[in-house]
Symmetry: D2
Subunit: 91 residues, 4 copies
């Protein structure tokens, strides 16, 4: 009986609402310049996939949330969302 | 009758399999250094949300795929996935 | 007689003092984890090189400063410095 | 007598010549879209400032070069330059 499983956890980090997003704005301007029509707002964020050994899906999620709070996200400008993929596999 | 709707399209850009990902490796090392146990591979990518006016969901997807090919993604090191959110709204 | 020369302008974008810099902190942690000793603070910024046609070095600098204000830098968290390289060449 | 001094080391990481640089290209397109004239190539890189305790400027440089090789730079697409600032201070 495995004591832990390996979970694949996705972290979605996006600029907070109301925070300037020069990278997204730059992409929107560039797309307009290339002739793409109908492009509205573009928001640019980051996407991490983290493999975590944990005793349960909840433990995996909580661990990654702690990582975001302690290291990964910049709370001044970013918010994050943590998603645990289904189908954990024993390591 | 609206001729177009506004679609919210998500682009997920991730490092190609086999390509070095120093940013992900750096995060994995830093998490280990902070005492997080059970952290395996970390892969770091980008996440874009693009609002697009289009005649259909398929048109929105194709337009954003073209943007990725022409500008957004770096085919040497990145692959991308385009997801159109449900629930388009008339502009 | 050329009316403009091409200047190579460097833009150095760095996190404002006092602003959290998770990317720099992550690199510092990862270096410690790899066994590098004596690593103190790490700050992570961006470096752009922009070729600009302008009538003078001062014009080139002012133009790029305007680009930073309008598009490139995020004033909430970043500051920037503009350096015009010597040795402009006629286009 | 201090056995080491603290050096402030700058790392300039830039896309290799001939490698696609979608971020730089995106910025160039956006600047054109905003009406900036005379903008040629834009190349986008990274800038790190690392404080390192070392016995000499050469040791500081070598240590940071090792960091770049082992962790920081992606040799597939990036090259780097290491500059040690003058005026080291005893820690």
């Amino acid at each position: 009986m495995p004591s832990t499983c390996t979970y694949s956890v996705e972290v979605r980090i996006t600029p907070r609402k109301g925070i300037l997003d020069p990278e997204g704005e730059t992409i929107a301007r560039a797309l307009d310049n290339l002739g793409y029509e109908g492009v509205g707002a573009v928001r640019a964020g980051r996407l991490l996939r983290i493999e975590v050994d944990a005793a349960s899906e909840d433990d995996a999620r909580r661990s990654v949330e702690n990582m975001c709070e302690e290291l990964i996200a910049n709370p001044v400008i970013e918010e994050y969302e943590v998603l645990v993929a289904q189908g954990a596999t024993a390591p």
